[in-house]
């Protein structure tokens, strides 16, 4: 304090009020464009969505009525919504472990390769670069009961053909398999990045300390040190899986008998097929809450793991 006093008295170190005002103004004007974008792109639509969810607005209607929490009450009893929520969770439950586990396996296997690594990386990454809607059409052909090569192979092997997309009990696993196929490449790249960040020294130290097998090395070094990567992959994968839409819209349209109705597709139907904008807005809010839960889980889990 005593050292700062004379400097303040001389007025050389403490900024003068005018200077302070200019700095404040400059700072705010730098923040302003980003703030406007945030408001226009995120906050205003969110508020509009919130407002719509309390009304019975229908697309094209000239007037709408404020209905309070009616839309949300309806979600609790709406069989379509409950079915699509259940289906979505089943879909996530299949895609999440498979897309994370297989991607980790592929990454660990590829990490040891030298010359063939880039070839396999491209092969596994190709589905990520493709447009899922276009690929869904291709899958539809591949899985076609009579024309598709997959059933052709099954027939040739003496099995019955399988209605992958027409059998209610098969349709979700089939869609999940396509979802996994589409996600593995991306997750693999994330895991490969995580693997390259593990120092080679650690594996050598582990080898000297008695880690004999690949399982020992994986359990002692690889898996724990991939923790942060895995957490990130799990969260992004679950959000992506939760948003499943393209394959359903192109291949099954929620069928057969609602067996592949999922949350986003239900919202799409309510909003753009039945024009129930108010109800669709309420469903969207529910959807956002789930995504928010995943994101919050990520933030907390990642924060807890930054100790090294």
């Amino acid at each position: 304090m005593s050292a700062a006093m004379p400097a303040t008295a001389m007025g050389t170190i403490a900024p003068r009020p005018r200077q302070q005002r200019i700095e404040r103004f400059a700072g705010l004007s730098f923040v302003f464009p980003a703030f406007v974008l945030l408001v226009v792109i995120d906050i205003v639509p969110l508020l509009v969505l919130l407002y719509l969810s309390f009304t019975n607005y229908e697309l094209g209607a000239l007037s709408s009525k404020f209905v309070g929490l009616d839309n949300f009450r309806k979600t609790l009893v709406d069989p379509v919504f409950r079915r699509s929520l259940g289906n979505t969770f089943v879909y996530v439950a299949i895609v999440l472990p498979a897309a994370v586990g297989l991607a980790l396996l592929v990454a660990v296997l590829l990490h040891g390769r030298r010359r063939s690594r880039s070839f396999y990386e491209v092969v596994y990454f190709l589905p990520v670069t493709s447009t899922l809607i276009a690929m869904a059409t291709v899958w539809q052909f591949l899985l076609h009961p009579s024309l598709g090569p997959v059933n052709g192979v099954l027939r040739a092997l003496g099995f019955h053909e399988i209605g992958f997309l027409s059998e209610p009990s098969y349709v979700l696993p089939t869609l999940a398999a396509i979802g996994v196929w589409h996600l593995i490449g991306f997750n693999m790249v994330l895991f490969l990045a995580g693997l390259s960040a593990i120092p080679r020294d650690l594996y050598e130290a582990a080898e000297i300390d008695g880690c004999r097998s690949g399982i020992d090395r994986f359990l002692t070094i690889t898996w724990p040190l991939l923790g942060p990567t895995t957490m990130f992959v799990i969260v992004t994968t679950s959000i992506t899986a939760f948003k499943v839409f393209d394959t359903v819209a192109v291949m099954t349209r929620g069928g057969p008998m609602g067996a592949s109705e999922v949350l986003l597709y239900a919202i799409y139907l309510e909003g753009y097929q039945y024009f129930h904008m108010g109800y669709a807005a309420a469903l969207t809010l529910v959807f956002l809450v789930f995504v928010l839960i995943f994101s919050v889980a990520q933030t907390f889990a990642l924060d807890r793991r930054v100790h090294y």
């Binding site: 120092p199 020294d201 650690l202 050598e204 130290a205 582990a206 080898e207 000297i208 300390d209 008695g210 880690c211 004999r212 097998s213 399982i215 020992d216 359990l219 002692t220 070094i221 724990p224 040190l225 923790g227 100790h307 090294y308």
Partner: protein, 400 residues
């Protein structure tokens, strides 16, 4: 504890030969240092002993038995890495315990979750904990067992790495530049601690460093390596006092040894800048030689001072001096007929010896000279008239 022997160990990566025919016997309980500039193959040699790298030729024996077919952990060696290679996700306890956990528990006892069901683990873990504590106490890190490596200072990490090596009571400790990540002060401290540890454990230490001071201060013997071969193997004092080649002479000792061009004159004496020195050699007359003169073997004197006790004078002009507190490093440009720059280390103020034109005389005893032939090898039979041949005692640099 065990001896380590290397028999004709060689290693090449493709066409590049990094180690050639290394033969080395390291006695049980010895502290041997492999020293050399980076890229000389010393780390590769250490990694071959550890089993992290496979040699192209030759054989490694630990405790008299060949270990070439054994995996690293089966060789019963422990290694301390330059980066310490501590497991960042484990606490200090886990880091030190890992070698014991790996050797005493089966895979089932170590699996996540399933291990909670293992009675064997419950029986063995307290033993391991006891041994880990004992080692931690020895290294004075007993209070840190619950910390993670990221929460430790460099010196503490170093001790944890040592603890992880000690806990398995290895046949030999292999250390790959363990002090190079520490700051200068801590490095000096850990140097003496490592030497103490070696004395206390009585274990075989093989220590790799590029720092000649570490090599000189801690080891029983030093192996100086260059270009994949051992240039000289001997006690630290030997490498300093009787370097086998110019390269060894240049590497050991600070400041670096002065190398002056010389030749053999008609009387078979060494001739330096046209001045015959009383050093007899067997090389033919006219052969080129290199004369090595340690900076600390030179005495700075005023230009007019008369040499005593057979000292030989060189004259020059003070170019620059560095004050190290207790001593001064002088860089002197030699005056004709001599040429070149000579570094010398003196304890007096350079102002006391130079004249107004910064001229001074450098006096040295021919007995303190190291003579090397044209290929850089030490000329074995030098004979100085009068003065004792034993160059093992370096002359102290004292101004007259």
């Amino acid at each position: 504890m065990a001896s380590v022997e290397l028999r004709g160990v060689g290693k090449s990566f493709g066409n590049v030969e990094v180690l050639t025919g290394i033969d080395l016997d390291i006695a049980d309980g010895e502290f041997l240092t492999l020293v050399g500039a980076s890229g000389c193959g010393k780390s590769t040699l250490l990694r071959i002993i550890a089993g992290l790298e496979t040699q192209s030729t030759g054989s490694v024996l630990i405790g008299g038995a060949p270990v070439d077919h054994l995996r690293p952990h089966e060789r019963r060696v422990a290694m301390v890495f330059q980066s310490y290679a501590l497991y960042p996700h484990m606490r200090v306890f886990g880091n030190i315990a890992l070698p014991l956990v790996m050797s005493r528990l089966r895979l089932f006892d170590r699996l996540p979750l399933l291990r909670l069901l293992s009675p064997r683990r419950r029986r063995i873990m307290p033993e391991i904990a006891r041994e880990v504590r004992a080692v931690a106490e020895q290294l004075q890190i007993g209070a840190l067992l619950d910390r993670r490596p990221a929460q430790l200072s460099g010196g503490q990490r170093q001790r944890v790495a040592l603890g992880r090596a000690m806990v398995r009571r290895p046949a030999a400790f292999l250390m790959d530049e363990p002090l190079s990540n520490l700051d200068a002060k801590l490095r000096v401290h850990m140097r003496s601690e490592l030497a103490d540890l070696h004395a206390r454990l009585g274990a075989t230490f093989i220590y790799v460093t590029h720092d000649q001071i570490e090599a000189m201060t801690m080891s029983n013997r030093v192996a100086m390596m260059d270009n994949g071969v051992i240039l000289q193997l001997g006690r630290p004092g030997e490498l300093y006092a009787r370097p086998a080649s110019v390269k060894v002479a240049q590497f050991i000792g600070t400041p670096t040894i002065n190398l002056l061009p010389a030749r053999v004159n008609a009387d078979r004496n060494v001739e330096l800048f046209g001045m015959p020195l009383p050093i007899r050699v067997r090389q033919p007359a006219g052969a080129a030689l290199t004369l090595g003169l340690r900076p600390e073997a030179i005495v700075a004197a005023p230009p007019g001072a008369s040499p005593r006790n057979g000292q030989v004078p060189l004259f020059g002009r003070l170019h620059r001096s560095e004050n190290l507190g207790a001593e001064h490093i002088l860089h002197v440009d030699l005056a004709a007929p001599a040429s070149g720059t000579v570094t010398c280390k003196v304890q007096s103020d350079p102002g006391d010896v130079v004249d107004s034109a910064r001229n001074l005389a450098l006096l040295f005893s021919p007995a303190a000279c190291h003579v090397f032939d044209a290929d850089g090898r030490r000329v074995a039979d030098t004979d100085t008239a009068g003065a004792a041949i034993d160059a093992g005692v370096p002359m102290r640099a004292v101004s007259p």
